[in-house]
Amino acid sequence: MPLVAANGLAFHVQEVGAGPPVVMIHGLLIGSLASWYFTAAPTLARSHRVRVYDLRGHGRSERATTGYDVRTMASDLAALTADLDVPFDLVGHSWGALVALRFALDHPERVRRLAIVEAPMPPSSVTEMAAFLATDGDLPDRLIDALPAQLRDAIAGGGRRSERLLQSLQFLLTGSSLLADLRNEPDVDDAELARLRCPCLVVYGDRSACAPAGARLARVVVGARHVVLPGGHYLHLDARDALTSALEEHLRG
């Protein structure tokens, strides 16, 4: 089912495995469905029907010029899961975790279990963005400085892949409303977080700038399980096996 129409855009969707459904959402900019496809998804697919998709403007989904706010992206998620006839599990990384959280708050009857990985709270603190938001520069140099070393080296090395990544970043940062949407994204307040009722796993890296958000979620979300893993913001890369185990355990319930 590679391309699926939703909210007037074509989304790239992939599904692997069989069993109860779990939907996994990636983070912004350098993320794509491949972020999960090559990390936690293959293991979860042994016991689950795992659906992953490229967020609007990312990977092979259509390059939308607007709609990078969490509510619009949660409505993309609603449209892309409308065919699932049972409550499903939701896993999100970074901005994708904010989208998952918003969806779980607005559609509690649709979500069985929720896993929040490295959600930036407040949203404008998203690691990839923090440095970039501070400037109005039109080249993503600062963003590149904030990337995991492996990726930064790949870009520095030049070549086909780095050119394509830079083109994609250029579009998102200068040809779309993404930065403005991020700046304007409101935080989720404690009273709303306290209304979350589905079992919730909260995972953060011990070296991540987002880590204080994990402590806050653990304090405010009723019954949340808080796991801290060795790594930074990109935990699916920094702690792939440990993160996968934590997700497996949570979804097994």
């Binding site: 590679p2 790239h12 992939q14 692997v16 495995g17 794509s32 469905l33 491949a34 972020s35 496809y37 090559f38 990390t39 998804a41 293959p42 293991t43 697919a45 042994r46 490229d54 990977g59 092979r60 070549g159 086909r160 892949r161 394509r164 990544l165 890369l237 792939r240």
Partner: protein, 93 residues
């Protein structure tokens, strides 16, 4: 290399070109030693597309995702065409 592997290599090359364009072949034909990441510079999302096309071509018997689940991230990043061809051959035997 057996004929089976020659055929699989040809299929992989055809599918890679379908996904990423034939300029990938400018540096020479794809061989068993070619790496997806270092030599072809495939994007990870293109590698997903390759997995999907292989699944369509060979059917459920080739469990690419199950195979990936047994590999370390470093091994995935260093994956060569030859390793993929051997994996497909092993599924078909």
């Amino acid at each position: 290399m057996t004929n089976g592997r020659d055929d699989i290599l040809k299929v992989v090359e055809t599918l890679v070109v379908e996904i990423a364009g034939d300029e990938l072949l400018l540096a020479g034909p794809i061989t068993m030693a070619t790496s997806f990441n270092g030599d072809l510079e495939l994007e990870s999302i293109e590698f997903v597309a390759l997995a999907e096309k292989l699944q369509h071509h060979y059917g459920a018997k080739v469990d690419f995702v199950g195979w990936i689940s047994t590999k370390e991230l470093d091994q995935i990043i260093a994956l060569t065409v030859g390793e993929l061809v051997e994996f497909i051959a092993s599924c078909r035997s």
